[in-house]
Symmetry: C2
Subunit: 185 residues, 2 copies
């Protein structure tokens, strides 16, 4: 069975060099020069400034027609030209998690257009979402998202982040760190 | 921070005596005489025939009006008269998890009336749902549900199980074990 677990390590090694780190809200992460992405668990004793883990999982809000559009346009990770990436861990507030499913969906798409906004940046931006809220009761984040894009699409990616952060959904984000990286191997 | 993790131990000790075990679908669990429910992790080295873990989490399908009705009628666990309980671990099929959110909701409530059926057995049956699908990539079940009720409500509880198992949603259940227990301490 292929594991759905991914570990993100910030430290001194790894193929991705950190070009910028920005604390969008809440506490920062310890500084790191490099990022490594591992499928599965990091080996015991691995030295890192931080290790964050998440699992890929089924979609929580996407409807069938939305998924059809996503599947049609979304690129895979690992494209040769996609040498820029961003690692963005997020935690949402207790107020978000206490909403009912229909209320979360309404904020997520009807009022914040999260899916529609993301679709505008396909196929430029590849993305993989990892869930950590239910991985262990004390995970520091709820979601880890990894994005990859070509240098020429970096401005478009910034626009995507601006649009999402201006949405009603982001009023429920209480911790967010943005780690921008460049592939160097 | 109060942990959302619960461990269910089947073995030779614990306050709940196993009165019957039934394999509804898929593989059985190893036999156990007693069940213990622990908030948090079982201590390392704990002897048990099986240990299953899950986290309480936000609701995945319940709308605000449905939640209002549930909150109004659902009893707490631990009622003195609720000396009968059932532990029912379930795994759903890959076909279920590949449905979009709107399709799962449609099967769950519009076509299977999962919430409406459960509401008919309130306040007799107390229930706590635990999620395990995203706890680790290799968990044997997706959900663990713990039910408590008075002996006089055992027949009603059987009816509830029959109704759910006859629903379209249950066509997506590929493993289900029912462990019935009686409190003896």
């Amino acid at each position: 069975m292929q594991t759905r677990l991914y570990s993100f390590l910030g430290g001194r090694t790894g193929p991705w060099r950190v070009s910028a780190t920005r604390v969008v809200s809440g506490d920062p992460l310890p500084p790191a020069e490099r990022v490594e992405v591992i499928q599965g668990e990091a080996r015991a004793g691995t030295e890192a400034a931080w290790i964050l883990r998440g699992v890929t999982s089924h979609e929580r809000y996407v409807t069938r027609p939305e998924r059809a559009r996503l599947v049609e346009h979304q690129p895979a990770l690992g494209r040769l030209e996609a040498t820029h990436a961003a690692f963005i861990p997020i935690r949402k507030s207790p107020a978000w998690w206490s909403l009912a499913q229909d209320e979360r969906r309404t904020v997520f798409e009807a009022r914040s257009a999260h899916i529609a906004t993301g679709l505008r940046y396909l196929p430029a931006v590849a993305r993989r979402l990892h869930h950590c809220r239910d991985l262990a009761p004390s995970e520091p984040f709820d979601f880890l998202t990894w994005f990859e894009f070509a240098p020429a699409d970096a401005t478009a990616f910034d626009e995507l982040l601006d649009a999402l952060r201006a949405s009603e959904e982001w009023q429920f984000v209480e911790r967010e760190v943005e780690v921008r990286v460049v592939r160097e191997s």
